[in-house]
């Protein structure tokens, strides 16, 4: 078995699931939110053929970029540097946090105001900043709510989707000084906005994610709806952007198809309210903009996925969240149950290379392989196929290069069960005897059949198998 030096503990997915499934309010709230998002997306892709054409283009752009990833990253670094953007490489979350803490400390920032960035969640930046004596303030409304509550995002696009309006109202009244309880959405937004405006003015360091980095021009693209992203990247003296190494494309012309797919798939918008193109720090003679721009490029297992021909497809992801919005499992358990930064179908296929297969062993099995995720993925990641691959690796049955923790899903009883299955179902004569016994002894079928009978009646064979009945018939005709 291939284990990392200190493998993270397996995520207690089953216990998390039991908590959510037993909570009808939470379940109904997730279901309603997912229905809303899927309906909005559907209005943006009214024509199935047009969607297929567009997503084939998205897939090609991402696959092409990945096929040239090392070259494009070098080209990106060269062009960003030429534009005055400083590039930093981080192999691990710790390295990324240290780089950001160093930059923030040098800038004299006791406070970092953050735009929405899932990679910053992935490296648990807020904890690291706090440990270094630097405060972090989330400026995306959803992230701000989650931070006030001391929680983590439950969705990559809608971080606070697990919260009801009333819960948010109570949270604001409890945690924001001088705020009375109100459950008016408009007022709640205005409260958040007021708090954040003051902070933007005072802080020296802003942090953001990146949706696409363009190698040929050295440009960072960022989409958002609240304007907080533009504030974070333009008002403070120093802007730090952080992203995964997979987010690069070669040409500027590759951006529009990807962003069209991203915003339509994510929030059902043809375009977001703000589309930021970050191409340099403030130039001589310019009145505004940051004096320094930094980009931190994070690996954290991505090069491991890259080395595996099949798992490489996980790096095509543009983080739209459509797979979780359409996932029947996500809709019932919500994002926190996964215990990973990225929940839902995409989380099941990207978390193994970040955390190893041991920590995520219950995630790769938590799918009925219904295929809804693969059907809506705007860059055609074959998510169900990749889950199959990861299940093989988890059982130690894959010929592909192994992820850390390969084989950790192995359970002796399960292996025996499948060995018995293979032995019985590959011996037709023996199988027919089994069928005869199972049908003749049907009255003796056990009433308790493990997890199956918790919500279902026991399986009981018919009186005669199809094998028997087909042997003794001479065709049927009614006309």
């Amino acid at each position: 078995m291939n284990r990392p030096a200190n493998p993270p503990m397996p995520i207690n997915f089953h216990a998390n699931v039991r908590r959510v499934v037993a909570n009808p309010v939470l379940r109904a709230s997730f279901r309603g939110a997912m229905d809303f998002l899927t309906a909005k997306r559907a209005t943006q892709f009214p024509d199935a053929n047009a969607f297929e054409t567009l997503r084939a283009q998205g897939e090609q752009i991402r696959q092409y970029a990945l096929s040239r990833l090392p070259d494009l990253l070098e080209q990106l670094e060269t062009n960003l540097t030429r534009n005055g953007i400083q590039v930093h490489w981080a192999q691990t979350p710790d390295e990324a946090c240290r780089l950001i803490i160093d930059i923030a400390s040098r800038a004299g920032g006791g406070l970092v105001v953050k735009g929405k960035s899932m990679v910053s969640e992935e490296i648990e930046l807020n904890h690291a900043l706090e440990a270094a004596g630097i405060s972090a303030l989330e400026s995306d409304m959803g992230e701000y709510i989650v931070q006030l509550a001391g929680e983590k995002p439950s969705h990559i696009i809608m971080p606070a989707i697990h919260k009801t309006k009333e819960e948010i109202a109570r949270l604001f009244a409890d945690k924001v000084p001088g705020v009375e309880y109100t459950n008016s959405v408009d007022e709640l937004i205005q409260i958040g906005r007021r708090v954040l405006r003051d902070k933007f003015r005072d802080t020296r360091v802003g942090l953001s994610g990146v949706n696409v980095a363009v190698a040929e021009t050295g440009t960072l693209c960022l989409v958002e709806n609240e304007g907080n992203g533009r504030m974070c990247t333009t008002v403070p003296d120093v802007h730090i952007a952080i992203t995964g190494i997979e987010k690069v494309v070669e040409k500027l012309e590759h951006v529009p198809p990807l962003m069209t797919l991203l915003t339509r798939s994510a929030t059902g918008q043809a375009i977001t309210t703000y589309f930021n193109w970050i191409s340099s720090p403030r130039r001589d003679g310019e009145m505004d903009g940051p004096k320094e721009v930094h980009l931190v490029l994070l690996d954290n297992g991505r090069s491991t996925a890259y080395a595996d021909e099949r798992l490489r497809a996980t790096l095509q992801c543009i983080r739209c969240g459509a797979c979780m919005n359409h996932c029947p499992v996500y809709a019932r358990v919500g994002g926190h149950a996964y215990g990973t930064t990225y929940p839902g179908p995409i989380g099941k296929i990207v978390s193994p290379h970040m955390l190893g297969l041991e920590a995520t062993r219950d995630l790769v099995t938590a799918s009925s392989l219904c295929g809804a995720c693969g059907e809506v993925c705007p860059v055609k990641i074959p998510i169900p196929d990749l889950l199959l691959q990861l299940r093989q690796q988890s059982q130690g049955h894959s010929k592909a290069p192994q992820l850390p923790g390969a084989g950790s899903g192995h359970k002796t009883l399960q292996s025996i069960a499948y060995r018995l299955f293979a032995g019985l179902y590959s011996r037709p004569a023996l199988y027919r005897i089994f069928g005869l016994l199972a049908t003749r002894l049907r009255a003796f079928s056990p009433n308790q059949q493990g997890a199956w009978t918790r919500s279902r009646v026991p399986l009981r064979p018919a009186g005669h198998s199809l094998h028997e009945r087909m042997k003794s018939r001479n065709g049927a005709k009614v006309k």
Partner: protein, 259 residues
């Protein structure tokens, strides 16, 4: 060679002979559906050959991460279809395994690889075969009836045969097919998923059942035995009187009633 997913399939002319691959689920738990499938084909003057050495497509092991066990089982089926006849499978899930996953399972095997690929090209799910190849039709029979159809995810997304089941039912003049809320959503079966993640599976099944019951239809049909094991087992446990029926049994009953 492997068969592309969601391709537009061209169908052969009606043959004189077919193989029936009955599936392990129907073999033990719903043999009536298997016999009905054979009867529907025979009623259209097709000779049905049921190889007695068939067992299972191997999918349970395959989807659980045990490709060697799946290969061992699937390899035993590959020699059962020597004649160049269509292989009809009364399940979108098993047909999907045979048509799309067998070629991948044997892609590195110089002997069995080409055999698996040639078999894959001859695999047809029952409803697509009845609609596109047999071109079966049903005369008006009985009283008007509201029917709700549950489509398996493999039929919908891997085989693309959800529309053929729908089209077959739409041909029966007195049948009104009603839609359920969240029509395209999984029933929560997923093979081993149903016992590895029983809470999630049960939540999905109960939501599916509530959506089906809300249609008010007295008849529930599916073209997949796995979904029916899950849904019927849950319905019975809940004390509901509704039971799902395999589409083969339903159609054969109609054919007999019309005669």
């Amino acid at each position: 060679m492997s068969v592309a997913l969601n391709e537009v399939r061209s169908y052969p002319a009606k043959p004189g002979d077919v193989y029936l691959f009955g599936t392990c689920v129907l073999d033990l738990f719903d043999p009536d559906a298997g016999v009905s499938a054979a009867s529907l084909l025979e009623n259209s003057n097709i000779s049905v050959h049921y190889p007695q050495d068939q067992t299972c497509c191997g999918q349970p092991a395959y989807t659980s991460g045990f490709p060697d066990a799946a290969r061992q089982v699937a390899a035993r089926q590959l020699h059962l279809f020597a004649e160049n006849w269509p292989i009809v499978v009364p399940s979108g899930s098993c047909a999907g395994m045979m048509r799309h996953h067998w070629p991948r399972l044997f892609e590195d095997d110089p002997a069995l690889g080409p055999l698996a690929a040639s078999i894959a090209a001859r695999v047809f799910e029952l409803t697509e075969f009845l609609l596109h190849v047999v071109k079966a039709t049903w005369p008006q029979t009985g009283a008007n009836e509201r029917v709700v159809l549950h489509t398996s995810c493999t039929a919908r997304r891997e085989m693309g045969t959800h529309l053929s089941a729908r089209a077959l039912l739409a041909q029966i003049p007195n049948v009104e097919l009603v839609l359920q809320d969240h029509e395209t959503e999984c029933c929560g079966f997923g093979g081993a998923f149903s016992v590895k993640h029983p809470e999630i599976s049960a939540a999905m099944a109960s939501d599916k059942i509530e959506a089906i019951e809300a249609t008010g239809a007295a008849t529930m049909i599916s073209a997949d035995g796995g979904c029916l094991l899950n849904l019927n087992g849950t319905l019975e446990k809940r004390g509901s009187t509704l039971r799902g029926q395999h589409i083969a049994s339903y159609l054969w009953q109609h054919a007999k009633d019309a005669a």
